[in-house]
């Protein structure tokens, strides 16, 4: 929906940011953001042509999302306008302005998965986790997302959790997978923002 907001002026964008602040206690944990971590990224791209998107991607790689204070820092150190940074960050689906859960569940909604009833998978996981699509659970363990296409069309319908793809699912099987992870994670009981890695070849 944010895609339509190209004409939205900075006032509205500030509203968006404040909404993030208000939405729950977990978001924008200003104290947790270590601004020093972003220095090498700024150093690398400062003053270079077309650097805006790589800067934001770099920030998100570090923090898992782009905290407000990081926007401020990038803007003041590179001279890029905050307006442009927010504009780009809200345009592309990749960028997040809220922290994500420890485990990101990406349910594929490509065409092949859709005709094999991917809707039911999202619905059932929504019910199980008690979150809406795109939201994070209160314990910050799970974030549920819909993605356009994971490119594993022959395994449709599928979803991706961390580095693992689960194919040929139905609602029940998908919930079972999430349930198992939840059981395991609850035993460990250490939710944080680890980043999943791709299987290395």
């Amino acid at each position: 929906m944010f895609r339509f907001s190209f004409f939205i002026n900075s006032i509205k964008m500030n509203m968006r940011v404040s909404r993030i602040k208000l939405s729950s206690g977990i978001s924008e944990p200003g104290l947790d953001v270590d601004l020093l971590l972003i220095d090498p990224v700024i150093e690398r791209y400062k003053g270079k042509q077309g650097n805006l998107i790589p800067l934001l991607q770099g920030a998100q790689n570090i923090y898992g999302y782009i905290p407000k204070s990081v926007f401020d820092k990038i803007s003041s150190e590179t001279g890029l306008k905050k307006n442009d940074l927010y504009g780009v960050a809200t345009f592309y689906a990749q960028f997040r302005l809220k922290p994500v859960g420890k485990v990101v569940v990406r349910v594929c909604h490509g065409t092949a998965c859709h005709v094999q009833n991917a809707t039911k998978i999202t619905e059932d996981i929504q019910t199980f986790l008690n979150v809406k699509d795109g939201e994070t659970t209160e314990d910050r363990l799970f974030t549920l997302e819909s993605v356009a296409c994971l490119g594993c069309c022959s395994l449709a319908p599928c979803m991706m959790i961390g580095d693992e793809t689960f194919g040929k699912l139905n609602g029940k099987k998908a919930v079972e997978v999430v349930k198992n992870i939840k059981r395991k994670e609850t035993l460990d009981n250490k939710p944080n923002q680890s980043k999943p890695e791709l299987w290395k070849t």
Partner: protein, 592 residues
């Protein structure tokens, strides 16, 4: 065992199906049992429906094993490698005997995918051994004038494989004729169409062929800088591209004064996209490389005149670039022997949906839809009735079963109302609701609209609302004319390909499946029994044994009935979850 080689297919889909674990297991067995075979990696061969794939090459021939999991690999190594007896029932392809997949392989002509699944994409020597970088070496050593290179490309008849089908040779010519001190080449690898993954497969399986195509293009048009704009959702492709670029730099295929020609300078940078479908449109893509919001702009000026950083720019698709070295090396006539008239060469399609052999196929232009689906694709899953095929992703359209003799070429496909697009082919059977398919695509384009043009931004939203309403049983008589009017306005009043083509799925389904729309609106019924809100679940009294399984399972308590008494579903309570239908062992629940 010295001459035995085991090759594991490690493309994204292979890895998703568990090929990584299989590779590790083979390595473990090799070490544990002290076996001496060679273990190698390759990428996707296109046979996604039988992943993970493992090929064994020994003195007697080559054997490709399908659906190899950790358990099965033990058995294969034990029987094939240790006891020299191949397990025929697991083998999907061999040069020694025919398999049930003979038609799937024989119907294909591999030019774009010539190396995919045959070489290790992470080693440049493997590409070089397959005549890699010979095309550019031939051009530069024979000092072929750039005009002649462009003429070869033009003579081959290749047209842009990204979807629009513009003559590649002509495009290069425009870029060559633009005068500027700096020119750019962009490879469009922002494969956003859900259901299309041929570009990913080429990038993961044969990245050097794309690089060589770009180097040849740079030579022909006189460009110094290249960009590959790749989807961030393809991490493996990005990784292998960067690896390939570094290897090419070491070999001096990229850099300055290339191939002994002074002032032939060219280098390539990979730019990762940030998740926006519209960035597949060339002007939006350039805006995104420049670090702005990816919004299309008006053309002219065309990129060949004023593109990236306001300099002349040539943009081609991954598949197009991958073909170029082959065309130069084998001559334009070898390429144009496939296909006819204005449609020459081969095209890769991604077959998905309700098809048995889902995966990638590369076929000569002009083959019919029917041949692809039945000969190569093996037909419909569970032998259900084939209903339609969606060609060209969200910008394309649905071609119905009775038009399945349509040849695959740019003009014939466009005449049906669909588009060739990047080559995604989603097959649908009798259980797919066409109104819901149209709603699905509109939902996609509506979300992906950049918002610049009013008719795309608001028009697609209104169309989506109408379609959603119809699938929920609240359709009105005036909805169909309203959809048609909106569709025409959106087509006329938008700037880019996304907006122009967004109404296609609705227009084609309205053209070929109007009766389904009418059934939804007038009878409040979904003929394909897909749209949940329009279904009715009922007990068939003759079949019901009164076993109470459905009654116990019903989450809302809508089923009444005692043991050994015919049950009854209270329609006003039923939420149409389908639980009773799937649980009944006696087929005593009917849906209509």
């Amino acid at each position: 065992m010295e001459n035995v080689k085991i090759i594991v297919g490690l493309g994204s889909c292979g890895i998703a199906a568990g090929a990584g674990k299989v590779y590790d297991e083979i390595a473990r067995i090799k070490e544990a049992d002290n076996l001496t075979f060679d273990l190698a990696k390759t990428s996707c061969i296109g046979m996604c429906f039988r992943e993970p794939l493992v090929e064994i090459i020994d003195e007697t021939g080559s054997y490709l094993y399908g659906e190899v999991d950790v358990k099965r690999i033990d058995e294969i190594i034990e029987k094939h490698i240790v006891n020299f007896s191949p397990i025929k029932e697991y083998i999907v392809k061999s040069d020694q005997f025919d398999t049930p997949y003979k038609d799937y392989f024989d119907g294909q002509v591999k030019i774009t995918l010539r190396n995919c699944g045959n070489i290790d994409p992470e080693h440049i020597t493997e590409y070089e051994n397959k005549s890699g970088y010979q095309a550019i070496k031939k051009i530069t050593s024979e000092k072929v004038p750039p005009e002649d290179v462009i003429k070869s490309v033009m003579d081959s008849g290749i047209r842009g494989r990204g979807g629009a089908g513009f003559s590649t040779g002509m495009k290069w010519n425009f870029a060559r004729n633009s005068k500027s001190d700096e020119k750019y080449i962009v490879c469009n690898a922002d494969e956003g169409d859900p259901g299309a993954f041929m570009d990913r497969s080429v990038l993961e399986g044969d990245p050097h062929s794309v690089l060589e195509g770009m180097i040849i293009c740079a030579y022909a048009i006189g460009a110094n800088h290249g960009y590959i704009y790749c989807r961030a959702e393809y991490p493996l492709a990005v990784k292998r591209l960067n690896l390939a670029i570094n290897q090419a730099r070491e070999r001096k295929y990229l850099g300055t004064n290339l191939f002994g020609i002074e002032s032939f300078d060219f280098d390539i940078i990979v730019k990762e996209g940030a998740g926006a479908f519209v960035c597949g449109e060339e002007t939006a893509l350039m805006a995104s490389i420049e670090g702005q919001r990816g919004m299309p702009r008006k053309r002219p000026p065309f990129p060949a005149v004023q593109g990236l950083w306001k300099k002349p720019t040539n943009i081609n698709n991954v598949e197009t670039f991958a073909n170029i070295p082959w065309i130069i090396l084998n001559g334009p006539a070898a390429y144009s022997q496939y296909g006819k008239e204005k449609n020459r060469g081969t095209k890769v399609f991604a077959l998905t949906g309700k098809i048995k052999n889902g995966g990638l196929v590369e076929v000569p232009m002009g083959i019919t839809i029917k041949d692809i689906i039945y000969k190569l694709g093996g037909g419909i899953i569970d032998d259900k009735k084939f209903k339609a095929v969606q060609l060209g992703g969200p910008s394309g359209g649905c071609i119905p079963e009775y038009l399945s003799d349509t040849p695959i070429d740019y003009e014939s496909v466009t005449a049906t109302g669909a588009i060739m697009g990047s080559g995604g082919m989603v097959v649908m059977d009798e259980t797919t609701c066409m109104v819901d398919v149209a709603r699905f695509f509109l939902d996609f384009t509506q979300k992906e609209s950049c918002g610049k043009c009013t008719f795309c931004r608001i028009g697609t939203k209104r169309m989506l609302e109408i379609l959603t309403r119809i699938t929920q049983g609240e359709g009105r008589e005036e909805d169909i004319p309203a959809l048609e009017e909106l569709a025409t306005r959106i087509k006329d009043a938008t700037l880019c390909g996304l907006g122009n083509s967004a109404p296609n799925p609705v227009l084609t389904t309205l053209k070929y499946f109007r009766n389904e729309y009418e059934a939804h609106i007038r009878d409040k019924k979904c003929p394909s029994l897909y749209c949940k809100k329009l279904l009715t679940y009922e007990v068939i009294p003759d079949k019901c044994t009164g076993c109470v399984v459905c009654k116990r399972g019903c989450p809302v308590g809508a089923i009444d009935g005692d043991k050994k008494v015919v049950h009854f579903i209270h329609q006003e309570l039923c939420t149409k979850c389908g639980d009773c239908y799937s649980k009944c062992k006696f087929d005593a629940i009917k849906i209509y």
